[in-house]
């Protein structure tokens, strides 16, 4: 209450409050002006959780600008430990919300003046979670529509994922549970992964810039895919993944982006623009493993197919060969048979021709024979004629010749007759021969004791020779 103060000065002094008086006066005015709890909406800034259990933050206008800028209008808010339990129940029921910096909230509480700080502040007792989540959803939907209009939603998904994406660029908070889950899942597969981690902030004011820088870094590295993973959290924690800048960066990224952002309900904008999205870091790693596993299975299948096809081709070739072999054999046999038939035909023709030729020869021979006979006949006639003529001529000449011959014969006969031994024998001559019949004409031809036969006209005389005394050269007779 205003009271009469010091009267040191003589003049009338304007009523003056002490600080406590004024604070109390303000408190009364505030209480009268806002007798009921009020709803207020704004964005949380500078939230702190004291050891006492109380939570303090500042509410600023949701359109106050970028985090870190100095807002024109603020409202200090206190959530006392005694009220926190009820608020937490509401937050937990929503399942997707936490009170953190940057989160737009609609809260209820009573306004009061806090004398110790000289400020009017809101003592928070209630929170409208629907408001926050709705705003997030609305904001996300607007962004998605804009991205879709620009054709950016499926840009990253259109990039081909390598058949064996073993080189993985990993954007996460290195050392976090999310990081461990992701890396462990890859390692368990047994494939030769090459993970290049880039440590980034995944929530809070710096998250967006950090993730954008990480994406830029990995885009220049030789990686097959980029994975962005983060552990589970309230949807409000994941607001950064609903941000436009990151969505555009991923859409423009030339590497397929896989996400494993732990969440239960809605997808974030980042999930929608990524090549593939998974519910958790473990699921994201498993997705990569399944691609490699699928490739290995495909390889095995192709191997089997190659083998099957190759053997089928070989089988077909074998059948083709068999067919050709059969055709060669068949054609050769047929040709031989045909040749045999041809030879038979030729032989038949030859026989026929030969027979014809034979007939002709015989005829020719016959003709020749006839000719020979005719000639011979003619010749015989001539000869006969000649012979007849000769006979005739002989017959004509014969009597004379015979007479002459007879005469001559008689003459010869007479002459021969004159020399006849018979006549000579008759005239007393004899003929002596040895026993061997040899004519004895010289005594030398006879040896003593030789038996001699002497023919005389009246018969033969047999005699034995005696040696006659030999006449010596002097004329004497020797013995």
């Amino acid at each position: 209450m205003v009271s009469a103060a010091s009267t040191t000065f003589t003049s009338v002094i304007e009523p003056t409050y002490t600080v406590p008086e004024l604070n109390r006066a303000i408190a009364r005015v505030v209480a009268r002006a806002f007798p009921e709890q009020v709803w207020v909406q704004g964005e949380i800034r500078d939230i702190t959780r004291a050891a006492s259990g109380h939570v303090y933050f500042t509410l600023v206008d949701a359109d106050a600008g970028e985090p870190g800028s100095v807002p024109e209008s603020i409202l200090p808010v206190t959530l006392f430990a005694s009220d926190k339990e009820a608020v937490n129940r509401m937050l937990n029921r929503s399942g997707a919300m936490r009170m953190t910096d940057g989160v737009a909230v609609r809260i209820r509480g009573s306004l009061g003046h806090f004398a110790a700080r000289g400020t009017v502040q809101l003592r928070m007792t209630w929170i409208d979670t629907e408001y926050t989540l709705g705003r997030l959803a609305t904001s996300r939907d607007q962004l998605m529509r804009a991205l879709a209009a620009e054709g950016l939603v499926d840009s990253n998904a259109a990039l081909p994922v390598p058949l064996v994406p073993l080189r993985v660029g990993l954007l996460t908070s290195v050392g976090s549970a999310a990081y461990a889950d992701f890396v462990d899942e890859l390692a368990a597969s047994g494939f030769a992964w090459c993970v290049e981690p880039v440590d980034v902030r995944v929530q809070g004011q710096e998250a967006e810039q950090s993730i954008l820088a990480g994406l830029a870094t990995l885009s220049g590295r030789p990686v097959d895919v980029i994975a962005i993973v983060r552990g589970g959290g309230a949807q409000t924690d994941l607001a950064v993944f609903d941000g436009e800048a990151i969505a555009r960066a991923v859409a423009a990224c030339r590497r397929p982006v896989f996400t494993g952002i732990g969440h239960e309900v809605d997808e974030t904008v980042l999930d929608r623009v990524a090549a593939r999205s998974f519910k958790t870091p473990t699921a994201c790693a498993a997705g990569l493993v399944s691609i490699v596993t699928g490739f290995v299975a495909l390889l095995a299948d192709r191997e089997a197919k190659v083998s099957r096809v190759a053997l089928r081709v070989l089988g077909a070739e074998e059948r083709r060969l068999d067919d050709r072999a059969a055709r060669v054999t068949g054609a050769a046999r047929r040709r031989i048979s045909q040749a045999i038939v041809e030879v038979g035909a030729v032989r038949h023709r030859a026989a026929t021709t030969t027979r014809a030729a034979g007939r002709s020869s015989r005829e020719r021979l016959s003709d020749a024979g006839h000719s020979v006979v005719a000639v011979a006949g003619r010749r015989a006639g001539i000869e006969r004629t000649a012979a007849t003529d000769m006979r005739r001529r002989l017959a004509a000449a014969a009597p004379e010749r015979i007479a002459r011959a007879t005469a001559r014969l008689g003459d010869i006969h007479g002459r021969v007759e004159g020399q006849s031994p018979t006549r000579l024998l008759a005239r007393g001559w004899s003929v002596t021969t040895t026993e061997a019949g040899r004519l004895v004409t010289d005594p030398i031809d006879v040896a003593s004791g030789d038996v001699l036969s002497t023919r005389v006209a009246g018969g033969s005389i047999r005699s034995i020779a005696e040696p006659l005394p030999r006449r010596l050269p002097d004329g004497r007779i020797g013995s």
Binding site: E318, V328, R335
Partner: protein, 69 residues
């Protein structure tokens, strides 16, 4: 006679011989030569098929040894 340069060459030559033989006017003097050559080619092709079959089975076996699954 010379060995064919390839399976394809062998098959082409074989086809040509089969075509000749099937014309039924092949000279008997060369018939046996052609048939002998045809069977040489068939033998060559068969040996190539067998060798290829063996190679394939070896490759497949090697792959199966590398990946027992």
């Amino acid at each position: 006679m010379s060995e064919p340069a390839s399976y394809r060459d062998a098959m082409e030559e074989l086809q040509s011989i089969v075509g000749d033989l099937e014309r039924d006017d092949v000279d008997i003097d060369v018939l046996s030569t052609k048939v002998r050559r045809a069977f040489e080619l068939i033998e060559f092709c068969r040996s190539r098929i067998s060798a290829t079959e063996l190679e394939i089975s070896q490759v497949v076996a090697a792959l199966e040894r590398e990946d027992p699954d």
